[in-house]
Symmetry: C2
């Protein structure tokens, strides 16, 4: 069998809409972007854009409709709890032009969980855009929602992770982007030309340069990325060789 | 003098474009969003939207042009270093339809800093969109850039903070949004109606509900926000009263 033609390789992409006044006010440090990004990477899906918007229907609708048609998958986090500021379900339904219904299975899960303490606020968490399926949330029962290519997740990181576990391996993806890091105690401005030259000499590879300052010394991590393990290893070796040839001790790995 | 008419009060808004493959791959946890959000809050400016985009000219141009006209201020972070993956300056210039020039003052700062070790990569950090001013960066010298209502900042958080210090008090803003937190060891779904009622009974106030799980117990922080100190205090007192009346011990402050 011939190797797949890389030019014809299907690349799967995703976007994320983070819904939350608490992120935009700076009260809460987002932790979902990095986690979802890595999780998507493992599924062979590339996170291409993130938008953080307020708890505001118009803002959510605009972001969802701008992104859902241009990516294979759209994720949202936040705003699916029981309180008045949780407006994500209604906003997604508005974006899709569908109504909001009670999902019988979610009603059953929540009624089973809360028993005679079920109330309107708790049942609010069973509301979904018409046509939606549930995403299991083993942690706190209130489910996530899948409607078309949109995946509606919680804002609380532990719950989002619980929902993502339920989706592990369930989404079509391409080859994951692999990475290797080469590092050096050097200022990146000394090796800028060298980095560009190594990247240009290898097809299908990207090199990112990330400087840092530690213990009064300056260093940089050079992250090489490719979907092809062999290209990755060849490029990393070439980069180490080029750094050493320039008199710079290269570290095979991250500093 | 009559009190200012709140309806006529000018609200200043900002957006942020985070430029960085390292954020979208999950390699790096963003730390600039929360910091900038809080800094803007202190200046009386509200962060209304954040977009995280790749190191890709078309993506940067699209985000910058979508946001710069609808907000008073647009900030960017990332991509202004000396290496080949630092394309922010060119992308901003493209978005504005202007050329890129060497800023004489930046050339002077960098030449002074690097001495005879100045090179093309380092001079790259003196390139700015035509018409731009510099934002001082006491920490590592390479300056930030202001062009029109766009503020181009570093990706490395310590450097971004250094640049923001240079801008402290320099931007026109309105009244800062103040906040007070009331908390309780309760599940938010028990008090959802109560929260909505208290918010509705007070004009010019928002209440956000943020649940947490700690030491096997469930609690929630209720964040009350308003630009008016008196409205804020009245609402917080009313919320505490309503919780206590419902038999829930309220904490004046965050748990």
């Amino acid at each position: 069998m011939a190797a797949p033609d890389p030019a014809a390789e299907r690349i799967y992409t995703a976007a994320l809409v983070v819904i939350g006044d608490e992120i935009l006010s700076g009260r809460t440090q987002d932790a979902n972007i990095a986690y979802l990004a890595k999780w998507l990477g493992l599924q062979g899906i590339r996170l291409r854009e993130v938008r953080v918007v307020a708890d505001d229907t118009a803002a959510i609708v605009a972001a969802v409709n701008a992104l859902r048609h241009v990516h294979d998958y759209l994720f949202t986090t936040g705003g699916i709890g029981p309180t008045h500021d949780d407006i994500t379900v209604d906003a997604i339904a508005a974006a899709l032009g569908v109504g909001v219904v009670l999902h019988p299975e979610a009603v059953a899960v929540l009624t089973d969980h809360y028993g005679d303490k079920i109330n309107d606020a708790r049942l609010r968490m069973a509301r979904v855009p018409a046509g939606a399926e549930l995403i299991a949330n083993p942690r706190t029962k209130a489910p996530g929602i899948r409607v078309g290519n949109i995946f509606v997740m919680a804002g609380v990181p532990a719950i989002t992770r619980s929902m993502l576990e339920s989706l592990d391996g369930a989404l079509a993806g391409g080859r994951p982007v692999l990475s290797r890091t080469v590092a050096a105690w050097t200022v990146e401005s000394r090796v800028a030309t060298l980095l560009a030259d190594v990247e240009r000499a290898h097809d299908g590879v990207q090199i990112g340069s990330y400087p840092f300052w530690r213990d009064g010394r300056t260093g940089a991590n050079f992250v090489v990325r490719s979907v092809d393990r062999q290209v990755l290893d060849t490029t990393a070796a070439a980069l180490i060789g080029a750094l050493e040839a320039d008199g710079i001790a290269a570290v095979d790995g991250e500093i």
